[in-house]
Symmetry: C2
Subunit: 112 residues, 2 copies
DNA sequence: TATTGATACATCGTATTATGATGTATAGAT
DNA sequence: ATCTATACATCATAATACGATGTATCAATA
């Protein structure tokens, strides 16, 4: 796991990205998928995930659909068209940010 | 500039990295250097920088040296030996984090 | 059959941290 | 004179991930 603060600002983009790849996912599934994709390095906590999903829905970026699996409820989320419009800018920013981190923290270049 | 929250968790590591490359720097200089290295994408604000420098000093990772430049004070910071020990782990974490971001936000790979 | 771990949702208070606002002051340029 | 850059500082605020807590189903296993 990365230090807690490092994860700030990436949760909403992660959700947007996953839902642009998979069309619909439910909360627990998102946690597992991020865990898998990150090689167990990003473990989203329930206390972070559910409020964030609700926030994205309240912002109009996600719609929901509840499905009963046996006696258990499963709540699927998918991107609204507004939500789809958020994906590309978020990806661009995050990938750019990742590159900047590599410049900043990578080996020092000649002092030119 | 990146969204505000994205920068959380990177300020202390940035300072540690810069001071491991340059042996001593003062606050204003750090701001300029980060601006330069990031291609104007990371503009550290004074309200962030000075409290963070003080925090790192209080944690024992930085020592200070005040120099008068004309009538103006300039406060140099350098790594203590404790501080030097913080650099490598911070670099490792941040570079690893950057790679993870690229996996998460990069193009979707085959679903295997 | 009792217990544990995984699945699956939710809320709320807390901690952390970058920033805006504000303040002080020197110095060069227009 | 006025504006911009240099150079330090503090404090209240906002944003957000998380721990703690709660409810409940279901499969495995001791």
């Amino acid at each position: 796991m990365y230090s807690r603060e490092l994860l700030k600002g990436i949760l909403k983009p992660i959700i947007l990205k996953l839902l642009s790849d998979q069309s619909r996912m439910y909360g627990y599934e998102i946690v597992q998928e991020v865990k898998r994709l990150s090689g167990d390095k990003i473990l989203i906590k329930e206390g972070s995930l559910y409020p964030t999903l609700h926030a994205l829905a309240a912002e109009g970026y996600l719609s929901t659909e509840s499905v009963m699996i046996g006696k258990r409820t499963r709540k699927y989320y998918k991107l609204t068209s507004d939500g789809k419009g958020q994906v590309q800018p978020a990806l661009t920013e995050l990938l750019d940010f990742a590159e900047t981190l590599q410049v900043l923290f990578g080996p020092k270049l000649s002092t030119t």
